[in-house]
């Protein structure tokens, strides 16, 4: 009995740093964030409790907020599927045991490491200028960064460009698919396309789910490229939620209101992942034999 108590105490001791960190840097800020969202706190000076006024303002006055939500949704719809499709195609080709796989893996993965840096955002600004290399290469005269029609796409390209990590995950999942399943399907006379949809896709669907959720969270958090490359413009066409919250908080000094907005984003994220998990019942296939 005593021994067990001692074991318990030790367990708590080892996780003690996390408990402190969780309280100080996560739980208390989370509670405070909600508390602030009910006040008119600014960067300086006193503040007072104003109830749900910030939330009312969000839905009645702030046109920009709807724009930012819409931009964020567009961004996710554009980036996440594109990323996953590229990742899957490349992973499948690589799993065909092609020569030089290491070189390819390096080529595809390198952007994922660098993509989040200011350096790449700076590069994008130079490459996508109207007189820049991209227009010169493909012979167009498009205003990639100045035209509201293209700006979000241009920013999204940075994100799509970083499909390497999803690819590595797919690649690992594809390796786990037992060979004999393919052979069995082929003996049954199924074509390549059918094999892909009936055998491959179901077997990698758990990884697919994981990738979708992670990439969605990542896309929601992305901030650097929109800030550095376009600064939210032109015409607020790249003013994603993360950027709007930052600006309301630290430019307009409206911390209380920005907190309320961040909760809207949080709830949106929860609904979205809830939705994805809910539908996953219907398309994610958990094999009991093939897994680890």
């Amino acid at each position: 009995m005593k021994r067990k108590k001692l074991g318990e105490a030790k367990g708590y001791l080892y996780i003690f740093p996390w408990i402190i960190g969780f309280l100080m840097f996560q739980l208390i800020p989370l509670v405070n964030s909600f508390r602030y969202s009910l006040t008119d706190i600014k960067l300086g000076g006193e503040y007072q409790f104003i109830g749900i006024e910030n939330y009312i303002r969000m839905f009645t006055e702030d046109v920009d907020l709807f724009n930012s939500m819409w931009v964020t949704i567009k961004y996710i719809i554009m980036v996440v599927p594109a990323k996953l499709i590229f990742a899957l195609i490349v992973a499948m080709i690589l799993s065909m045991k092609i020569k030089g796989i290491r070189i390819f893996r390096t080529m595809y993965y390198l952007p994922s490491i660098l993509g989040g840096s200011v350096a790449i955002s700076a590069l994008w600004r130079v490459m996508f200028m109207k007189s820049g290399i991209i227009n010169n290469l493909i012979g167009t005269d498009i205003n990639w960064l100045g035209d509201p029609k293209y700006a979000l796409f241009t920013i999204g390209l940075i994100d799509i460009w970083q499909f390497g990590s999803s690819m590595v995950l797919f690649f690992a999942a594809l390796k786990q698919v037992p060979r004999d399943l393919y052979e069995a399907a082929q003996i049954d006379g199924a074509g390549k396309v059918k094999v892909f949809f009936k055998v491959t896709l179901p077997l990698i669907s758990p990884v697919m789910l994981f990738n979708i959720v992670m990439q969605t969270i990542n896309a929601l958090q992305n901030y650097t490229s929109a800030y550095v490359v376009t600064g939210g413009g032109p015409l607020k066409s790249t003013n994603i939620m993360a950027l709007k919250i930052y600006e309301d908080a630290f430019v307009k000094s409206d911390l209380g209101y920005a907190s309320a907005e961040s909760w809207l984003l949080f709830i949106f994220l929860l609904c979205l992942s809830g939705f994805i998990f809910f539908t996953s019942k219907y398309w994610v296939f958990y094999s009991d034999g093939g897994g680890k």
Partner: protein
């Protein structure tokens, strides 16, 4: 059989083309740093007409008072402790979760995982105010402290998974040999955990190195700027935008990450494949 070969060739060409598109911007950036401003804007050629080092020399001097030497040092001062704190604290906490049964273990583990879902945007404002009250603004504490207190649930999760894969019999054997619980961790488990710990180091290095939002909010003095802020400063100096200087410094600033990637490639792939971390 002929058809199969044909498909293979097509696939090979396809991924080569995509691969070149992927890598082209980086190669272009490298060569652009040797070009003149006019060349960057107008020429389609990948290679510069002359290799011109002035972009590097002028760019490195940056503001005059502070050079990229300072910004590199600052970045290291942020990154190295953050990475060390993270790997140590996460390993210890993961050990606690994976090897000890105590009341609420499962619950706390669940709570820890659920913090993954909280977007950064929600925490950034209260954290800013908290750190302001602590007097931590314009210092590196906002980077070091969360690392010291294991605020990276993903890493803990990854290590717990790894530890669960190590048979408990190993611990028992060590216990019989007279090791205490801490010695079991340092002598038996850490050597086995090494690949997982290295991948944590790698990813934390990348994240902290590339981090832009946190320095933007917490660091004010140019003398304390990390590379990300220094690059951004170079971009917005109003007068003349010297793209070759910016491209040179952009290249230099990501060079350590590229070198690290080539040296530790094996761990990268293992790290992602085992936990799904994003670079």
């Amino acid at each position: 059989m002929k058809k199969k070969k044909y498909i293979r060739w097509c696939s090979f060409i396809l991924i080569t083309v995509i691969g070149i598109c992927m890598i082209y911007p980086l190669v272009w950036m490298f060569f652009a740093s040797f070009k003149t401003n006019e060349e960057i804007n107008l020429a389609v050629n990948l290679l510069p007409e002359h290799f011109d080092w002035s972009g590097f020399i002028k760019g490195w001097d940056s503001s005059g008072q502070y050079t990229f030497t300072d910004f590199f040092i600052n970045t290291f001062v942020i990154v190295v402790p953050t990475v060390l704190f993270t790997v140590i604290s996460c390993t210890v906490v993961a050990y606690g979760f994976a090897r000890f049964s105590f009341k609420g273990n499962k619950l706390l583990f669940g709570v820890m995982l659920s913090t993954l879902m909280v977007p950064n945007a929600v925490l950034i404002i209260p954290r800013y105010l908290l750190f302001r009250d602590f007097g931590w603004l314009d210092s590196y504490m906002p980077f070091w402290m969360p690392a010291l207190f294991a605020c990276y649930p993903f890493f803990i999760y990854q290590e717990v998974q790894f530890l669960r894969g190590i048979p408990k019999e190993l611990d028992e054997a060590a216990k019989i040999d007279g090791c205490n619980s801490f010695q079991i961790l340092t002598r038996i488990l850490i050597p086995i955990l090494k690949p997982s710990m290295i991948s944590i180091c790698i990813f934390q290095t990348i994240w902290t190195w590339n981090d832009f939002m946190n320095p933007l909010i917490y660091i004010n003095s140019v003398s304390k700027y990390p590379l990300s802020l220094a690059l951004r400063m170079g971009l917005d100096v109003a007068a003349s935008t010297n793209w070759n200087e910016i491209m040179s410094m952009a290249c230099v600033s990501i060079l350590p990450l590229v070198i690290m990637f080539f040296c530790l490639q094996k761990y990268f792939v293992e790290g992602i494949a085992s936990s799904g971390l994003k670079g």
